[in-house]
Symmetry: C2
Subunit: 349 residues, 2 copies
Amino acid sequence: MASNNKVRASIHDVARRAGVSAATASKVLRGIRTVKIANAEKVRLAVKDLGYRMDPLASGLRRRTRQIIGIVVPDLENEFFGRLTSRIEILAEEAGYSLAIASSHESEVRERKMLERMHDWRVAGTILAPVRSERGAGATVMKELAMTGALVDRVMANDTFDTVTVDNVRASARVARTLIEAGHRHVLLFGLSDVSKNVRARISAFQDEADAFCPQMSVDVVLTEDSVEGLRGSLSDYLEHHRPTAVFSLAQTGTLSVLSEFRRRSIQCPQDISLIGFDDAEWMQATYPSVCAVVQPVALLAEQAFARLLLRINGQEGFPVCLLEQCHFQERESLMSVGSVPLAHTGNQ
Amino acid sequence: MASNNKVRASIHDVARRAGVSAATASKVLRGIRTVKIANAEKVRLAVKDLGYRMDPLASGLRRRTRQIIGIVVPDLENEFFGRLTSRIEILAEEAGYSLAIASSHESEVRERKMLERMHDWRVAGTILAPVRSERGAGATVMKELAMTGALVDRVMANDTFDTVTVDNVRASARVARTLIEAGHRHVLLFGLSDVSKNVRARISAFQDEADAFCPQMSVDVVLTEDSVEGLRGSLSDYLEHHRPTAVFSLAQTGTLSVLSEFRRRSIQCPQDISLIGFDDAEWMQATYPSVCAVVQPVALLAEQAFARLLLRINGQEGFPVCLLEQCHFQERESLMSVGSVPLAHTGNQ
DNA sequence: CCCGCAAAATAAACCGATTTACTTTTTTTG
DNA sequence: CAAAAAAAGTAAATCGGTTTATTTTGCGGG
C-alpha cells in the first residue's frame, strides 16, 4: 500500500535541472561561498521545484562521520533518563545534529551492543549513562572503539572521557546534617544493593558527615536487589526488629517502597519516622505526607554533558574533565524534628 | 583525542583477504546460500581477522530502504511513552531492525519535522503517537510522503494507516457503571481542554452510560489548558462552588492535581469525594489513599502496533485496520460507595 | 591582444555497501 | 562423452552524496 513509489530527487537531479554540476549543487547546499550568485539561485530554485531533500545518512558516507549524536541510557521508562534524553535531543538539534537514542535496559551486554551500533552508525559522538552495575564496562567499550564520547550520571572520574555527574557527596552530607540538626540519632539508609558508585558515594558521604558531626549517631544500611518485592521485603524484615527515627532512601524506586511499607505497617510519617528521598519526582508533592527530596539538576546535567561532547567533537584536546553539579534540597512534610512539629507544611509554592 | 584514526575494514577489504569478490562476500554476509562452503568459510574467517563490521546505513543505500524503524512520540518524559518506546525497541531488534526514536515535544511543527526526518532516513516504517492537539496532521504528513506506518494511542480510525488504541469507550463506560453502582449521583470529569479525541471519547462514553443507566446523575465537566497551575486553579474554582461525590480524572497529570488539591482543601478522599484516574502509575499505589485507576495495556499496544507495521512493511495489502485494546480496572482505596466503607483496602498484592 | 592569476565549475573518484548482468564452473542427463 | 542445465562467481553499475584534481572562465595589467 504505502511505499516509495514516487522516486525522490537526488542531488544529480537538482544539478541537472539547475544546469550545473552535482559538485556545484553540493556546494550550494552546504553553504560554501565559491559559487556565483546566479548559479546558487538556480540551484535553490531547482531544490524547491523538485522538493529535494538530502539523504543525511548517505551524505556522511564520504566524510566517514555523520551528523548524528548517540545517547545510550540504561532505562527509558525512567523519568530521569526521559528528561535527560529529551533535553539532549533539543540541544543536539540546535547544534545541527540528529540524536540517536538507545536504551541498554540495564544490561551490560546490551550496553555494549548499543555502543557498537552507534560506532557502526559513524556517529560524531556518544553520550553514555552507564548501567547500574557500572564497572566501567561501557567506557571501556567506547575506549576500545576509539569513540568520541562523554559520560553522565552514575559515573566517577574516568581517565578517558569527560564525565558529568551530581555531587553525591555534598548532597548526602547535606542530608546527614539536616537530619542531625533535626535531632535524629538513628537513621536507615535504604537502597539498591548493586555496585553503583553513585549509591556507594551517597552512603559513605552520609557516614562521614555523621562521624564528623555526631559520632553517637547510629546509621543502618539496608541494600537489596532491584525488584519491588525485594525492596519491600527487606525493608519489612528490617522494620520488624528496628525502629529508626528517619529513613534516607538512596534512589527513587526505593522511596516509593518505603512509603507503601509505612502505610502497610501503619507507621505515621513523619511523626514516627521521617523520610528523605534521593531524586525528586512530581508525585512526591501529592503524597501524604509530601516527600522531602534531593533534586537533581537534570537539565544542567544534560547541558554540561552535551557541551563537553561538542567540544571534543570539535577537536578539543586535553585531559578529561570531571564535572560535579550541585543538587537542591527540597523540604517537604515528610521530615520533622524528633519530638517536634514538621519542618514544612506545604509541598510546593 | 578520540577519533577514527584506525580505519575500519570495508567489505572490499574482507573480499580481498578472502580471495573472492565483494559480491560474494556480500552474499555470505547476507546469508545467501549460493556460495561454496569453502568460500563462505574463508569470508567468515576474513571478517573475524579484520574485525569487520558492516555499515548498516551505507548498506541500505542501494536498497533504498534501511533496516530501521522510526517512532515519533509526543513526550519522552512521560512514563507511558517511555514504556511504549522501550517495548518497541526490543520488538524492532528482535525483528532485525534498529529503532530510531524521536520526540515531537507535543508540537505539531516538530512532529512534522521528525516525520520528515524519518522519511529522509529511509526508514522501513514509522510508528506515530500523535501530539495531543491531534487533528490528523501527523497522519497527513505520513500520507503525503507515502510512508509506511502505523498509528498508536490518541487516534481514532484512520483511512490510510492501521491504528492501535485503547478502548476508551468501554473503559469509560466501565468507570461510569462502577460509580453508579457505588451510589454516586454527582460526578466531576476533570481533564485537559485540548481537542484530543481520546479525552472527548472518554467524556462522551461516560455521559452515554450515565444517561442510559442513571438519567438522574449529574455530570460536570471541567477542562483546562495543560499546566500544573492551570489544572489546579480551575479545579479549585470548581470546588469553591460544587461538591460532587466523585471525580473521574481523564489523564494522569490531572490525577496528581486532584490529589494535591484535595489535600490543600483538606478534603478527605474517599470519605468526602472518591477518585478514579485514567492511566495508572506506580506511585498511585503509595499515595494515601492509593488511587483507583484505569490501567492501559501498554505492552500490548506496543506489540500490536509493531505487528501491524511489520505486516505492512512486508507488503500486506488491504484496508487499514483499527485495533481497540481493552483496559483493566484497578480497584484501590480512593473509591468508596456513597455513605459506606471503602471498596478496597490495600493497593496491591 | 595576450599573459597570468584568482575564482568558479566540473569530471571523476570515492565512501561502503547491494544488485545486475554476465561469465565461468560444476553437475546432470540423454 | 557431449550438450544442456544449474550453480557459483564476478566486474561493473548503482544508490546519494562529498571531495579531489583538473579545467574553464573572468579579470586586471602590461
